[in-house]
Amino acid sequence: MDNDIILDFQNVTKKFPGVIALDNVSMQIRRGEIHGLCGENGAGKSTLMKILSGVYPYGSYEGKILYEGRELRLEDRSIRQAIEQGIAIVYQELTLVPGMTVGENIFLGKEPVENGSINWDKLYAETREILTKYKLDVSPQAVVKNLGVGKMQMVEIAKALSENAKILILDEPTSALSKTEIDKLMEILETLKSHGVTCIYITHKLEEFFRITDNVTILRDGKAITTRPTASLNQESLVQNMVGREMKERFPKGNRQPGDVIFEVENLQAVDPNEPSHKVLSGVSFNLKRGEILGIAGLMGSGRTELVTTIFGEYGKITAGTIKLEGKPIQIKSARDAMKVGISLVPEDRKGQGLVLIQAILRNISLANLDQFSGFFRIDQDAELAAATQQGKNLALKASSLQAPVSSLSGGNQQKVVIAKWLLTQPKILIMDDPTRGIDVGAKYEIYKLMNELAENGVSIIMISSDLEEVLGMSDRIVVMHAGRSNGTLEIADATQEKIMALATGIA
């Protein structure tokens, strides 16, 4: 029985300043199984994977990980080492070189060499061998950028397997795939299983656990709640274990009375500025009331982010439709224009778009607001510090000093810095694109509370979220997007997950 266990986590704890990402996690994964890993954002899944891949090296966490009976010791950042030991990860974001062929990608860094030059025939022959063995339907000589996402994923998997991976970790492999591509992936996973490869499968789509996994471990707030045979679970018990508490607890109830309509979008249509033939918005209409939280739901790729960045003047080229603020049509051509009329955007990608990570917290908070503190030439640094300090206090920002680099903060506190920056602009309308993505539950709660306070004080909030419960828990009304259109608006009183999904998938 014992030698059936390929991977054994024993009391693994990983702490970050201010956050415990993994709290005494123990779990076992059997050889040859497909093991589901499930949990909300911030439950600890990605931390666990980063430990397995060596991003967080041996010694940076407490506890033990036994791999094939021996303790796993990966050195700093040595992802290579994890691969050599047979642990491979297929990430959510693909990591292929687009301009190279399938074969070149698979053998990148380990090309078969003869007398100092690459033996291309051997490379492509071996590529073909791998592809046929695991029934991957891709041509070895195809250039990767010409493949669809689904095929790229296959190449990623083939690449991992070419290293003789014993454990293959798939992190949200289906998030960008179509239904047929997902079916294909499931087939591939079955093939892998028959070849004795162990898979760890991470996803947000619960139905996939039931479809493919043998056992599921549920993580919540950094703790491993339980590991059970998938057959003994159903959707309800899975969700119950994931959430582990009543919805009321997750979302603080505000006491707000939305007022008049202040912002209206009518039949907004827009194209990708770099590719004018590509339509990103094909008719979005909604309105927003003073002091209201308006949720925007929709699947990935439904145009949610494109909608708000277009409103903010920083993405799509508007081809039709009107945007009205307080009854007057407005034209927003840049972030600066948006800020002038009182619209702020907390962007989707905190690190990539929200923060200058290497700079101090203070400078990040003041970045969009330097006009407030400047005369013709000089910035009043004392006034700047005073305002940032006040924002930090209001948001209960946990930081040793405002001079500390923002990269030293936890995800939740980083998000507070982004929010602080935008609140300092004193917006009438605050757009928040997935504001709680990847932050821990406590910080989420604080951000929800803050949103309620803001709305009570008359700020109108547009919140995009991928988390249906969050949309249902926080919004007054919900606009559901589907394929670049607003497919319907639901009052919170009669909104349910099912109704949202029906609108989001285009069934309704």
Binding site: I358, A368, L370, D382
Partner: protein, 391 residues
């Protein structure tokens, strides 16, 4: 917190700055020991050392912001050289016929023309880089070729003298010792005033104020440096005019980079372009302005160069861009953008000048001087990477 722990904390917070200052002191000590009678640090050589750093350090002061925004300017050396020959051309060929016997007016007009030439070229390059979206590396590489041609066109392959009396003062002049002392007293007074004023303002806003002793100690330390510097150079000829100009330039640039929107935006753009854009920053205009400023400083450097050598030559400014970039990098400017200080670049420039000067005094052939300078640059960055990794 007692004084000692506070001092060590300050050191720790600014470890990179102190490391490079330490490196400078080490280099000085080494050369002083290797030259007879510590000639290296005797007033005459000490004075020359600072004078030698000025031309490329004007360039470095602008280069910091260029690199901070994630760009590069390869044309600065040749632009300074071009400005120097343009200025020499006016000094030698134009003014003596248009406004004869008015050396001060002629020198002033030369300065204006020099600064204008630099700025105009900066405007041109900046426009192509930011508004026409051609990468800075390519635009300034092309600019370098263009300017090399421009220098040959103006000089016709010959050397143009620029050693007229008033004009020479710009980079060869000295303040009389008494003026040096007056300046010194003013600077020290300003340091103290600034200290009290900043404490007062901090109190007014209700911030925590550092202990009086540590502020006082810091102010006394910098005042001592200023006084010591003036004392040494006064034992030779007095404060060097170009060094004074450089100090003023560096102070203004440091102020601009920290205390103005323009400076802050430059750092934000280099740190995360996307975040800067979404914060409402006009990236194109900011980068354009950075190159205009760089052009202006090339004008300053070019005027100083013409005055310093007393000639406009075909080889003017050859390789200065590399010295300027090296000074920035030695001073902690990150080639990835977003990080770098003017102060660091000035120390970096001083290190480069110190190496050149010291190696020359030791009669090391020019070829080996380059080898040593290159090795020092790489070593410095290696040490930085090493310590960051193993902290």
């Amino acid at each position: 917190m007692n004084l000692f722990t506070e001092i060590t904390k300050r050191f720790h917070d600014n470890i990179q700055t102190y490391t490079i200052i330490l490196a400078l002191v080490l280099i000085w000590a080494l050369f002083a020991l290797m030259t007879p009678n510590f000639a290296y640090l005797q007033p005459q050589n000490f004075s020359n050392l600072f004078r030698q750093m000025t031309v490329t350090s004007f360039l470095a002061a602008g280069m910091v912001l260029v690199i901070v925004t994630g760009n590069i300017d390869l044309s600065v050396g040749k632009l300074a050289g071009f400005v120097s020959v343009v200025v020499a051309f006016f000094q030698a060929r134009v003014w003596n016929t248009v406004i004869p016997d008015q050396p001060v007016l002629a020198a002033s007009l030369s300065v204006v023309i020099g600064l204008l030439t630099g700025t105009l070229f900066g405007i041109l390059q900046g426009y192509i880089i930011s508004y026409l979206s051609v990468p800075a590396f390519i635009v300034t590489l092309g600019g370098m070729f263009v300017l090399r041609g421009g220098i040959l066109i103006i000089t016709q392959g010959k050397t143009i003298p620029a050693n007229q009396p008033a004009f020479s003062e710009i980079a060869q002049g000295y303040l009389p010792p008494w003026a040096g002392w007056v300046l010194g007293i003013i600077v020290v007074a300003l340091l103290f005033f600034n200290m009290f004023n900043s404490r007062l303002r901090k109190r007014k806003f209700g911030f925590e104020v550092a202990s009086f002793n540590i502020d006082l100690l810091g102010t006394i330390f910098f005042s001592t440096l200023v006084i010591a510097y003036i004392f040494i150079v006064n034992r030779y000829n007095g404060i060097q005019v170009p060094v004074l100009l450089l100090a003023i330039t560096a102070l203004i640039m440091a102020y601009v980079s920290n205390n103005t929107r323009f400076g802050r935006y430059a750092y934000a753009i280099g740190g995360n372009r996307e975040a800067a854009r979404l914060s409402g920053i006009n990236i194109k205009r900011n980068i354009f302005m950075v190159f205009v400023l760089m052009g202006f400083l090339c004008g300053v450097a070019g005027v100083a160069l013409a005055s310093y050598v007393g000639y406009g030559t075909t080889a003017a400014g050859e390789g200065y861009e590399l010295d300027a970039i090296a000074a920035c990098i030695l001073g902690g400017t990150s080639t990835l953008g977003g990080v770098g200080t003017i102060f660091g670049a000035m120390i970096g420039g001083l290190i480069m000048a110190s190496l050149t000067n010291g190696l020359q005094m030791l009669n090391v052939p020019a070829a080996y001087q380059y080898v040593v300078k290159g090795a020092v640059l790489i070593l410095a960055v290696f040490l930085d990477v090493y310590f960051k990794k193993n902290r």
